[in-house]
């Protein structure tokens, strides 16, 4: 009869302990990576930046833009996401009833280009989605047939996809998601519900 550990038993115990520690370490590292990624989501300064950009965009014909790009079917499917483009002329009332150019609307377009495409606010991309992103979130995960028909969906960066998966809320309406990149090439993400004009 054995009265204590033998060599093989010790090795088995050590191997078991090492495996357990490795598992703990792996999950610990994963938590650290996720925590690091969360730092780039919804930073306070970026939330206010997004709020002001949204406030400006609402002053344009954003409702028409959303109707054209999210509510109009493309190949029988309504897109789940659209990339905002300042150059879309449906955003502005550039001419009055006498076909004269309205300077204030031209200024709005220039301002839009400056804050979004001009690099002043570090904006990389602006996405408009429905406020409830659950369908989009599933779509990105499963890469279903509907998703393949939405060209802009394929252009989503992995950072935006990770960010979308953290979003919640089932309200009606639309959501503005902005991807930023600072001078050190760090990406940041923020979103805000698009307010109704007026």
């Amino acid at each position: 009869m054995k009265k204590g550990f033998i060599f093989v038993e010790t090795i088995v115990v050590v191997a078991f302990l090492t495996t357990a520690l490795l598992l703990i370490y792996t999950s610990f590292i994963q938590v650290l990576v996720e925590e690091k990624q969360r730092n780039s989501f919804d930073d306070t300064a970026y939330i206010y930046r997004t709020y002001y950009i949204e406030d400006f965009l609402v002053s344009l014909n954003l409702e028409d833009y959303i109707y054209n790009h999210l509510e109009t079917e493309v190949d029988g499917v309504k897109p789940l996401v659209t990339m905002f483009n300042c150059g879309d002329l449906s955003l502005y009332n550039l001419r009055d009833v006498n076909n004269n150019i309205i300077q204030s609307e031209v200024d709005k377009q220039k301002f839009c280009e400056a804050i979004i495409n001009g690099g002043r606010f570090d904006v990389v991309n602006i996405y408009i989605t429905r406020y409830d992103v659950s369908e989009l979130s599933d779509c990105v995960e499963e890469d279903s047939i509907i998703c393949k028909k939405n060209d802009e969906l394929r252009n989503l960066s992995s950072g935006v996809i990770s960010y979308i998966k953290t979003l919640s809320g089932f309200d009606d309406g639309y959501r503005l998601i902005i991807e930023y990149k600072d001078q050190e090439d760090n990406y940041y993400y923020s979103n805000v519900k698009i307010a109704k004009r007026g």
């Binding site: 010790t10 206010y48 301002f111 400056a114």
Partner: protein
Amino acid sequence: MNNKGFTLVELIVSIGLISIVMVFLFNLLGNVKREESLNNSKNTDSLNRSMIIRVIQNDFIELNLRSVNTCNVGEVLCYSFYFLNGTTKQLIVNKNNIIYDNEKWLLESGEYTSNNSVYCTNKEYGDNYYLKIFIPVINSVNDGKVRDIELIRIGKLSEITTFNDITC
């Protein structure tokens, strides 16, 4: 074969193996302990930063910013904000703290500097303008967290009075 207990060789090998595991374990614990003490100051700075931005930006939005002027009080920067209801609030930036509306927040890691501190668009976009006050932090722990303070305002030039020292 004698199976009644450890031989000396078995004991030494066992202790050796356990020591290796323990070295890794203590190393990990040491890192966790160091990280924990660093985290305290990092979290305080992060929390203060969010609070500063939130308080000032909420004033910009709710009290309706009318004008910004520089003042000569802080070591690094000083701004006076004038609001629609007639109130004035000062933002004083020192190397290790920020004072806004007589409330003080300490910076535990790094220092505030005045590089690229303010930018405001001129009349190049008609009635539209944006104001950006940027207060960078230097010499802080590099942990991937944003420490710089950034205040933004986008609005109509017709809704603000002339900024004396800041070209808008």
